[in-house]
Amino acid sequence: MSSLVGFLSLVFAIGINFYLFLSRYIFKFQKQKFNLFTRFSSLLTLLSFFSLMYAYVVSDFSNYNVFQNSHSNKPLIYKISGTWGNHEGSMLLWLSILSIFSFFFSFTKNIDESFKRLTLIIQSLLHILFGLFIIFTSNPFLVNSILVNEGLGLNPILQDPGLAVHPPILYGGYVGYSIVFSIAIAGLFQNTDDEWLYVAKKWSLISWTFLTGGIALGSYWAYYELGWGGWWFWDPVENVSLMPWIAGLALVHSLMMVRGEQAIKKWIIFLSILCFSLSVFGTFLVRSGILTSVHSFAADASRGIFILLIFFIVTGFGFLVFLLKEPKKSKTLNLLFINKVSALVINNILMIIATLTILLGTIYPIIIEVLYNKRISVGGPYFNATVIPIMIPGFLLMSIAPILSWQTNKIQNSKKYVLGFIILSVLVLIQSYFLNFNTWGFVGLLLGFWIILASIIAIFSSYNVKFNIKFFQIINPHIAHIGVGIAIVGITCSSVFQNELDFNLNEGDEFNVNGKKVIFEKIETTNEINFQSLRGNFLFDIEKKQSKKIEAGKNYYPVSKMITSEAGILHQWNRDIYFILGDQKNNEWFVKVLINPFVSFIWLGVVIMIYSGFIAVTKR
């Protein structure tokens, strides 16, 4: 029953969007009615989504999708997250988030009504494309042809609280760019005033903030679940989320800087189209099964071709309009040697080069396999050697960019910055000299601390420090940059100064980790609701009274016959001690211990960036 409701409301919502789309050309109706119809179709799409969720919650195995991906033994939260833990459901989530964005956009007040309508019509077009994709290739409401009383389970690696919320948040970013895309296209068609730029800024900030949160959740999950001790692997699926993130960053910065310059406006439109295109491209790469990962649920060529077609239409349409309809000529760029505009231009160029570099690395294996029938993989070494050096000048620039002037080459209080930089360089050099020197470590630490220091100098020397909301809005760019600086310090320390120790241990053995005594107490196995767990119990720092307990092991999921590794992590503010329990051989357990310094800084930096994202949304 719920499946029927879900399917019908999905079809009905698409029907309404057809009507809205055609309304521009055939049916004319009042603006009030138009908004109402948009909202109605959004609610119908949500109804469809929640019907599917309901089927998951009550374990309605007469729905084929539920049967394939759920199990009555699963805890409620994973039944709910099971709704989007499969290809069909996650595409429905995609469409639902698109609807939510249209819904809220239809309430926007401060733009021209016909401009708003045009934007929503483009949204309708996107809704139709993805809606048809769901109905024809990925219908989550198919009826199960056999009568069953139990389901087939869910990929156990996805049974994790962090990952349960990761897709909706990530999609908030991906799909949020659809509004920015629609606004930009509408901006090309209706070359009226620049009011839409402010609206676009708000939406692109929201999308970017969601995307940041989604990527961070994904990489945090990879950190503690995949059991490799790293948090970023340059996996193609990570890359496809990083591309719209960097392009979105360029977009947000351009939107903040725009003061009616024609060149920047053009560039903003280009970036808006690019961001959404990259999002759809990411969806295509992941969903078509061209890339294998935990994200590719099922490889099906027809689906791949359908999404490729959508990608082609959306991107082709966007760039074609861009080619044919140029924005009106107005102010020219005020480029100086070092002012805000030139800093912005340099930063944008760097970000776009970085995005293209990642794009090349991601699609290169596909090109090679088509041409030479050889499978290659492009991984960390390529990306580390190309993307990081490209970004470094940008990081250097961002420390002072917010205080640069619009009109002149002068930098306020430049002496303070020079002095700060020199002192900092000496300190970092001394630090590197006493620890084992590493070029990347030196560069990373200097960069990170320099960004933090310069931002702090800027806050205290350029503004009157007051503790009210307005002040925090004003210094928000600096706060965001401090977040980046902290994250860079964390990234540098945890990757360059990581330490790895391997042990072969019997139960009861004692061993040393960084001078601290650790005891391998025992192996425990327990039966949980939906899995069996095997845990090695370790006591860290046994000489102290409050020694810390660490559990590392594996889970075995009988329904899907899969084993997942569960790292045991002792979080300290300055380092993570990361235990991995390996296999047993000759009665000895293989135990790997990784010491990851300052990992917490990465997450702290990301949290600050997300905070700034939200603060920036509140500012006009």
């Binding site: 280009f270 890339l291 060529a301 082609f312 082709g316 080619l323 050889k374 499978r375 051989k585």
Partner: protein
């Protein structure tokens, strides 16, 4: 000049779409990468028998005979699907040596599985820790390898083999 700059995204789009489409239409499956092991020497291995841990098989034991190596497990349902085919192979090609590797399986489960469904293999080696599979670069179960008399891998297949694959791809090599 300006036109060319604006056209660039469209050109890149076209290139990406053409390659992706070719990839999708060529029926390539990312789960079946072209094997790096093909035409290479079989990785060295040593494994004890499922039924008698004292009986051991080593790489040199399969020299000078054509060998079909199959990785399987009792918990792997696609393995169950291809299982009957090995009886046909054994009947049709008695000179072919069938070597099964039982992958990450409790011994009792494996023995019961081969009791229930029959044992088509000449030798069943144990790969309880998955190290042999690692050497072979096994991606997922089941996987099947054909080794020629010189100890070279001449065929590799990921996933359950079917009658068609047996007829069109394996038999010509036998």
């Amino acid at each position: 000049m300006n036109r060319i700059v604006v056209l660039t995204p469209l050109i890149i789009l076209l290139i990406i779409c053409i390659f992706s489409l070719t990839y999708l239409l060529s029926g390539k499956d990312p789960n079946k990468p072209p094997s790096a092991l093909l035409n290479k020497d079989v990785p060295s291995f040593e494994s004890s028998s499922l039924y008698n841990s004292k009986k051991v098989i080593k790489t040199k034991d399969i020299k000078n005979k054509k060998t079909l190596i199959n990785f399987f497990a009792s918990w792997c349902s696609p393995c169950k699907i291809e299982h009957p085919l090995f009886f046909e192979i054994r009947k049709k090609y008695p000179q072919l040596y069938l070597l099964g590797f039982n992958h990450k399986d409790p011994t009792s489960d494996a023995i019961k599985y081969l009791e229930d469904d029959g044992n088509p293999y000449h030798f069943v080696g144990v790969d309880s820790d998955g190290l042999i599979a690692l050497e072979f670069g096994v991606f997922g179960l089941p996987e099947t390898y054909l080794i020629d008399e010189d100890g070279k891998i001449i065929f590799k297949f990921m996933g359950p083999i079917t009658k068609d694959i047996l007829k069109n791809e394996i038999e010509p090599l036998l």
